[in-house]
Amino acid sequence: MRILVVEDEPTLAAQLAECIKSVGYVVDVAHNGVDGHFMGETEPYDAIVLDIGLPQMDGITVLKKWRASGRTLPVLILTARDTWREKVAGIDAGADDYLTKPFHMEELLARLRALIRRAGGHASTEFVCGPLTLDTRSSRASVDGTALALTSHEYRVLAYLMHHLGEIVSRAELTEHIYAQDFDRDSNTVEVFIARLRKKLPPGLIETVRGLGYRLNKAQ
């Protein structure tokens, strides 16, 4: 899962990135509205955390532009002004949820998880595929109740596949969602992660659809 954080205050932005990374998401940070808008427009994020008070272009405008160009991804807005006017304006501009500063990181993560889950049409924080269970709250995966030891990259690949259960996910899509923007990407490494995952998971769970990508086998 790849998250964009748009926040102009450097310390808060760093704290947000740190915290979101710690639960297994990939994070990009933008420090002003214009950069944030461009990144949200061009990169395939799974959710965006957007501050309302931004330099160069305010958050509401950025959000409206995304929605106008057809971007439907979940957006969580952060407001410093704890007024309902701002919340109504945010929701009417297309936000999915809001959080008022100062907030607890746990609260932010819970909201973020809920948004991603809702965007995928899932009702629970636990994803199940046959014997495999993925708990997005604790960022853990287990097979038949036995916890799996996964690296952060392996977890990201597995989580993305689980969020798109039954869908074919291309190698390029996986790459975009498990690496941050400035990371030196190499799509071959995805194959390495898939191979390692296959060793840890029951056989046949991850299918390869020739020429298209990978899919988690629901029937398994």
Binding site: E9, D82, T83, W84, V88, K101
Partner: protein, 458 residues
């Protein structure tokens, strides 16, 4: 009270002033003109009598028998018509040792009556005037003179009914007062029209002000006479300044919130990293940051409302505000699958105050209901004579009757705060009271809490 009202009404002052002046002018004019006419008619009357007297004097002779004779009788036909009101008579004044003779000669109009003239002997050439009672007890005005022919001393008298003079005068005075009365009424009507037309701009100024007070207009609109326009402009300037002050206060409060809260976020996050979370200092920072946030929210919302409560001309439609908030709740509490029903408000009620304050009050209440409801929230707006009521019902667990007062009073003192409980209800109740409204908690027919917000309507 009534007299004060009369004294305080510009219209009545102007009208009364004009009316007094009209009455005085009419009275003086009526009396003066009457007097003038009276004098004029009297003079004319006397001249006529004297003419008759002169005519009589000129025609007076002594005949061969030494008897007094009038050679040619005066020509006025009234002198020949019995008791016509115009008479003459010649008396003989007694010489030494003689008896005076009354009515040696008289006009035919006297018939056999005699004019009883008071004893008087005008010197030769003098003409005297008297008033006497004549035939049929009618007041007569007479002129007389003494004429001496040879040894005969004669008293020549011409008399006329006074009514011949007073009749036309009374007639004239009647017509005069009627004309003056009509003129006075015309003037009064003209004066009231003038007052009405002249004061009409005041009326439209009052209407314009009323629209401002009712929130239908932001400032006084329309063109007014040049005497009133400066007043209107000044007033509009005051209104604009007021609105500007409120807007500035609001912006500054918002900026302060923004400036405070981002650092608070940083502080709270720094204290909340997993390695340090159980540290005493970290816990202290976390709890104090929370307190600061609540205090800032509480006092900011109060300061903002305090600024706008005093501004006239505010009007906020209630339903759109609720609709906006319901959109937020549906999105934010999407997981909880709560049905939020906004019952239609056919009266299109409006709040006499700032939109943001209404949003603040209702937002807190609807958010609370969304948190506590099990499956359903009903929101209804109703009219309450000069005020309106928004009731928010939920089917949650409600608040026990004994707790309700406490819930509303909570908030201002930091040590009373229960962790995890918002100040929403207390803030809303506070704002409502600043606007002269109220917040009432009751048991809902849905089973949970019913919160009613009562606020002044426009």
């Amino acid at each position: 009270m009534k007299i004060a009202f009369l004294r305080n009404s510009l219209r009545i002052r102007l009208l009364a002033g004009t009316l007094v002046w009209i009455v005085i002018s009419m009275t003086v004019a009526g009396w003066g003109l009457g007097q003038l006419f009276h004098q004029h008619v009297e003079a004319q009357f006397d001249v006529e009598l004297k003419n008759h007297l002169d005519q009589l004097t000129a025609q007076l002779i002594l005949d061969e028998q030494n008897q007094t004779q009038v050679r040619l009788l005066p020509s006025d036909p009234r002198l020949n018509k019995p008791l016509s009101g115009l008479y003459w008579q010649i008396d003989r004044i007694a010489a030494a040792g003689e008896q005076p003779t009354k009515a040696v000669l008289r006009s035919r109009s006297l018939w056999d009556e005699t004019l009883a003239v008071p004893a008087d002997t005008p010197a030769d050439g003098e003409i005297h005037q008297h008033r006497i009672e004549g035939p049929q007890a009618v007041a007569l005005r007479i002129v007389e003179r003494t004429v001496t022919i040879d040894t005969h001393s004669l008293r020549l008298i011409v008399a006329a009914n006074e009514s011949l003079m007073t009749g036309p005068i009374a007639d004239f005075k009647g017509h005069l007062w009627l004309a003056l009365g009509i003129l006075g009424m015309g003037l009064t009507f003209a004066a009231s029209m003038q007052v009405f037309v002249g004061l009409a701009p005041l009326r439209s100024m009052q209407d314009a002000l009323g629209r401002v007070r009712h929130g239908d207009a932001r400032n006084m609109e329309g063109t007014f006479p040049s005497e009133i326009m400066p007043l209107v402009n000044e007033f509009n300037t005051v209104l604009a300044q007021n609105a500007e002050v409120v807007e500035r206060a609001r912006t500054q409060a918002g900026n302060l919130a923004h400036a405070l809260k981002t650092p608070l976020s940083v502080l709270s996050n720094a204290a909340n990293v997993p390695e340090k979370r159980d540290d005493d200092l970290a816990r202290l920072v976390t709890s104090q940051v929370d307190t600061v946030r609540k205090q800032v929210d509480y006092h900011l919302s109060r300061a903002q409302a305090a600024a706008s409560v005093q501004v006239p001309g505010m009007r906020t439609a209630v339903e759109p505000v609720i609709q906006g908030l319901v959109r937020v709740m549906r999105r934010v509490h999407a997981d909880r699958q709560i049905e939020i029903v906004l019952l239609p408000d056919p009266a299109n009620l409006a709040f006499r105050g700032e939109e943001q304050d209404l949003q603040e009050m209702l937002g807190n209440l609807i958010d609370n209901a969304s948190k506590w409801a099990r499956s359903r929230i009903e929101i209804q707006v109703s009219d309450e004579s000069g005020k309106f009521r928004v009731s928010i019902d939920d089917d949650g667990k409600g608040i026990a009757e004994t707790e309700r007062d406490h819930v509303l009073k909570r908030g201002v003192r930091a040590d009373e705060q229960v962790p995890g409980t918002g100040l929403g209800l207390a803030i809303s109740a506070d704002l409502a009271r600043m606007y002269g409204g109220d917040l009432v908690l009751a048991k809902s027919s849905l089973g949970g809490l019913q919160v009613s917000l009562i606020l002044p309507a426009v």
